[in-house]
């Protein structure tokens, strides 16, 4: 880990503020009388989705469901996966059809994970709409995919972004570089 060379982008407090901002923006954009589903992409998107659901519930969003999407089987190519990838379960215990789905991931970079997630969602039902919320957006898109809700922008290209979350990493911070 070259932790010393990287720069802190968000600390725990910054992440909390970014999530609050995301929740506010999502609530402001919600259509009326449409059930909402917040679906996180494994693994850190899953953690963020759970937090976001709590925030949305606090803001009175209902009906509201949370789910988790594993996109391993929807990657462009097996070769891209590498031999260590493990297929995990997709856990979406509600019908997607007619729902306003907020897809959640930690970092938006090439857009390929989101592309895979959209394909996976497409096989699971026909949502009314899908919106993308990410904690951090960095340049480097390889596909025409943009986020609708962004917690924090990184403007400098070619700098890796590392998101660490208490639930999955026992640490809480976002670092750049």
């Amino acid at each position: 880990m070259t932790k010393s060379r990287s720069k802190m982008l968000l600390d725990a407090k910054g992440i909390r503020a970014a999530m609050n901002r995301l929740a506010d923006e999502i609530v402001a954009a919600l259509p009326e009388n449409v059930p909402v589903g917040v679906i996180g992409i494994r693994r850190r998107g899953e953690v963020l989705a759970k937090r976001l659901v709590n925030e949305l519930a606090r803001r009175g969003v209902t009906p509201l469901e949370a789910g988790t999407l594993d996109i391993t089987l929807y990657r462009d190519d097996l070769a891209e996966l590498g031999p260590q990838a493990v297929v995990r379960q997709t856990e979406i215990g509600f019908d997607l059809t007619g729902r306003y789905v907020v897809l959640v991931d930690d970092v938006l970079y090439t857009g390929r994970s989101v592309r895979a997630a959209l394909s996976a969602l497409n096989d699971l039902g026909r949502p009314r709409a899908i919106r993308l919320a990410v904690l951090v957006e960095r340049p480097g898109r390889e596909l025409p995919i943009q986020a609708d809700f962004v917690g924090e922008h990184v403007t400098q290209a070619d700098l890796p972004v590392t998101v660490l979350l208490t639930e999955s990493d026992q640490e809480e911070e976002v670092r750049v570089g």
């Binding site: 693994r43 089987l73 031999p83 379960q89 096989d123």
Partner: protein, 344 residues
Amino acid sequence: MSTQSPYAPLEPSRPTEPAATPANSPTSSFTWKRPHLLGLEELSPEEILHIFTMAESFQEVSTRSIKKVPALRGRVVVNLFFEESTRTRMSFSLAAQRLSADVLEFAAGKSSVSKGESLRDTVRNIEAMGVDTFVIRHMAAGAPHYITRCTNCNVVNAGDGQHEHPTQGLIDIFTIRERKGRIEGLNVVIVGDIGHSRVARSNIWGLTKLGAKVTLVGPTTLVPRTFEQMGARVGHDLDAALKEADVVNMLRIQRERMTSQVFPSTEEYIRLFGLTRRRLQTTKPDLLIMHPGPVNRGVELASDVADGPNSSILRQVSNGLAIRMAVLFLVNQAGSPAGEGVTA
């Protein structure tokens, strides 16, 4: 709106991230490396458990309204069956199709084999069409191993002679684990024609690796003592073996593999080794009853027992799909075994 374009500068020399696995793919410290699944004898307990973890995820795919994922899209799986099979062949076909692979069916009876083509030539010719995986069943033990030396394709053993039937072994052990929550310390009794059974051999290898105690029961002609070398106990008294059993796996009497009279009569076999309702009165109440199919109803398994609440026969078939999806995915993920001695 951000003024900066979110798109990547796509100059040809753009350095790719060193990330071997994309950020959203969960990884574990365990790495599956086998391009073939030939038997359970050579697998480590970790490899067996890895297949089970994957199979649990694949079970979920079969519960969706669209029971298909694109993981093996563009890949070709060949079912190369030199022996009759219905459920194994269908299960492999469906598993491959649920992963979006294309499936070619090969039946030896109607093929060039009946015109005298050798196994090697058959395999090389099909490979030349551009296929990726051979699922092979053959009457000769070791045929799948031989094929790995003639091709660059992934090979999955779907039963070779009396040697192994690894996916069936995995299915049985996976089903036991699902019902009992563990394998270690369980008493598993396998009953019937052990000597001719590749299913029994795969079960014995896998179960003993994971810490179960395996007891084999049947007529002395069908259960030779040599099986003790595999770490199993050998017995000939079913009622005695069943007293402590957590699981009983009833094997089919395989008349097609018997070249001589190995027991006096079917009636006597049923009396000594058939699983009947009466026999269940003295066993543990939660005894799990398994059968790899097809069942000879009224012979090794009484009809009401086969359909009873302790039976997991149909669950084994459902689980078969998930196990075979996991195996096809894993061998393909491990890549082409290029360089493994393909010579002219």
